[in-house]
C-alpha cells in the first residue's frame, strides 16, 4: 500500500485536525492542528495502519514566529514499508504536549532529548530528565536564541564559564546573519 494512501486513511479518520497530505521529494507529511491529540493520532496510526516503528522525533525552534515549536514525528511500518511524517506545532507559552511513550516505548529517549535540547515538555512521560546535558544545566542549547559559542554563567559548577574559542570567528555561519563577504577575515577590521 502506498504511503499516500495510508496518509489519506489517517487524514480521513482525523479530518477535523489533520490537514491534507503534502508531498515533497516523495515523502508524505501530515500536519496536526491540535498537539493535544498527537498521542491519539499516533495510537490509531500504529494500531490500525501498522506504523509499528517510530524512527525519530525532531523538534524545530521557529524563533521569532508563533507558534514557536514544531515537533516532527517520523513513522515507519516494517510490514508495509511506508514512511509517514506527522508535524504539530506548540506555542512557547504552553511548551507542552502529550507523550507518545504509551504508543511506542522507543519514544522515551527521543522525548527526553527534545526536553533537554529545546525545553518542550511531554505530559505523562515516565522519566522526563535531561539526557545529553547533565542534571542542573540551566539552558536549552538547541534553541535559536542560545549562541553557538555557549553562554557565560555565574554557575561555575553547572555550566561553561568561558566562551568558546570560535565565538565571533569568521567561519561561524548564522542563518539570516551577515553574509560571507562580511565574515571574510580579510575585510574585517583588525582589532587593536
Amino acid at each position: 500500500m502506498a504511503a499516500a494512501e495510508l496518509a489519506n486513511q489517517l487524514q480521513a479518520k482525523f479530518s477535523d485536525v489533520l490537514s491534507g497530505p503534502a508531498e515533497f521529494r516523495g515523502e508524505v507529511t501530515l500536519k496536526l492542528a491540535d498537539p493535544e491529540r498527537i498521542a491519539e493520532v499516533c495510537e490509531f496510526a500504529k494500531k490500525s495502519l501498522s506504523y509499528d516503528m517510530l524512527l525519530d522525533i525532531t523538534s524545530i525552534d521557529n524563533y521569532g514566529e508563533d507558534p514557536r515549536w514544531t515537533l516532527v514525528y517520523e513513522l515507519y511500518g516494517t510490514g508495509h514499508g511506508c514512511h509517514l511524517r506527522l508535524k504539530t506545532e506548540v506555542s512557547e507559552e504552553k511548551s507542552e504536549l502529550p507523550t507518545v511513550t504509551g504508543v511506542w516505548r522507543g519514544a522515551d529517549w527521543h522525548e527526553r532529548e527534545i526536553y533537554d535540547m529545546m525545553g518542550v515538555r511531554f505530559r505523562g512521560h515516565p522519566d522526563l530528565r535531561r539526557i545529553l546535558m547533565w542534571d542542573g544545566y540551566p539552558y536549552f542549547p538547541l534553541r535559536k536564541d542560545f549562541p553557538l559559542a555557549g553562554k557565560p554563567t555565574d554557575l561555575p559548577d553547572v555550566a561553561f564559564t568561558k566562551s568558546a574559542p570560535q565565538e565571533g570567528g569568521p567561519f561561524v555561519t548564522v542563518a539570516g546573519g551577515k553574509d560571507s563577504m562580511a565574515r571574510e577575515p580579510r575585510v574585517r577590521v583588525p582589532e587593536n
Binding site: G81, G106, L142
Partner: protein
Amino acid sequence: MATAQTIEFHDPASRVAAGAKSLMPEIVPASAPSTGGDDGELHGEKMILNMGPSHPSTHGVLRIILELDGEIITKATPDVGYLHRGDEKIAENMTYTQFIPYTDRLDYLAPLANNVAYALAVEKLMGIDQQLPPRCQYIRVICCEMARVSAHLLGLGAFAMDIGALTVFLHTFTEREKIYSLIERLTGARFTTSYTRIGGLSRDLPPGWADALRKFCDEVEVNFAESETLLTRNRIFVDRTRNVGIISRADAIDYGLTGPNLRGSGVDYDVRKAHPYLVYGELDFEVPVGSVGDSYDRYLVRMGEMRQSVRLIRQCLDQLPGGDDNDAMEPINVPDGKVVLPAKDKVMTSMEELIHQFMLVTQGVNAPPGEIYFGAENPKGELGFYINSRGGGTPYRLKIRAPSFCNLSILPHVLPGHMMSDAVSILGSIDFVMGECDR
C-alpha cells in the same frame, strides 16, 4: 614476626617469607544478609553499581547505573551524553559542505558510510540524487561496504574480547589495518575521511587501488573463516551468548532498533533492500536474519553481513563504469556547476567557473526550502538525517537519527534479570558507538 620496615616488597620471595598475610588488614566478616521475604529465598540488600563511564566494555563513555541483587541485575539506568558535542547545533551554523567532516565523527568506526549517508540526504533535499553518475554510485557503495566490514570487524573483535576471547580481536584488527591503508590511499586520511561531496566525491579511485581492494577481499574472507572457527562453535563463547539478552521481535520494533540488532530479532528490515538507494537495487546480496534475538544471533547476523559486504564489493568492482582506473573518463560528480566545485585549472582561466567556485565556497549550495528525511543502512543501523531547509546554503534544522542512540534505549528493558557478567556480553552484542549516540 617481621615488622613492616624490614620487608622488601619488590622481592616476592622475601614477602612470602615474612608472611605478608599478617600485614594485610584484618578482614571483618560481613554481617549476614538479612533474610527477608517469605518465599524462602535469601534477599540481600540491593547494591548500586556504576558501570562506566569508562568501563572497557562500554567502548567509549557510556555509564550504566546497575541495581544488583547479588549478581542479578534488577534495574539498569543508562546515562548517555558524555560525548555530546552539539553536532546538530553546529550544523545550523555552517554550510552543507562544511558539515561533512563532522559526519566523520558520528560513528567514528565507519566514517565513510556516514559521509555517504549525509551526502545522499543533502542530495535528496536538492533533488539531485537521481542524477548521480553511475561511477560515483558504485564507488559510494564500495565505501559503505568497506566501512561495514571495518565496523563489524571491530565490533566482533571487541565483543569477543569482552567475554574473554582475546585472539579474535588480534585477528580482526589485522584486517582492519588493511582497510585503513586502503582508505588512506583512497581519501588521504585513515580515520576522518570526509570523502564525499554534495553531488559527488572528492576524488576518483587512485591507480591500482581496485586491485588492492580485490586482494583484500580474498584475504579478509580467509580471516572471516578463521574468526568463525574461533567463535561460532566455541563452547565458552556459545555459553556466554546463547539465550543471553533476548530481544523479542515486537520489542525490537517498539524500541526503534535498526540494523543487525533488529535483524538478529528476526525482522527482515534492511534499508538497502526495503528502500534501495545508490545502486543497491541492482546488486545481488542477501540479508542475514536471526531467529531468537539473543547475543549469539546478533553475532551471526554481523558475521553474515560481512560476507555479503565482500560480495557487494566484488560485484561493484566488476561492474564499475569506466573500469578500475577510469580510462573512459566517466564522471564522478553531478554535472552542475552550482553544486560541485569546478576543476581547479578551469577556475584560474574561465570566468564562469571562477564565479561558481566563489559562490560555492562562500555561500554553499543553494538548497530549496523544504524538509526531507533520508535513512541509510549503516553498520550500526539506520542512520537518518532530517533536514529542514528554509533555502540557502545552511540547514535551518538538521536532526541526526543516530542508530546507536535508539539501540541503547532498550538497555533498561533487556538488562534486568541477567547476571552482571552477561551485561558485558549484551553490550558487546548490541555494538554501539558513543560518538554517534551522543552526537
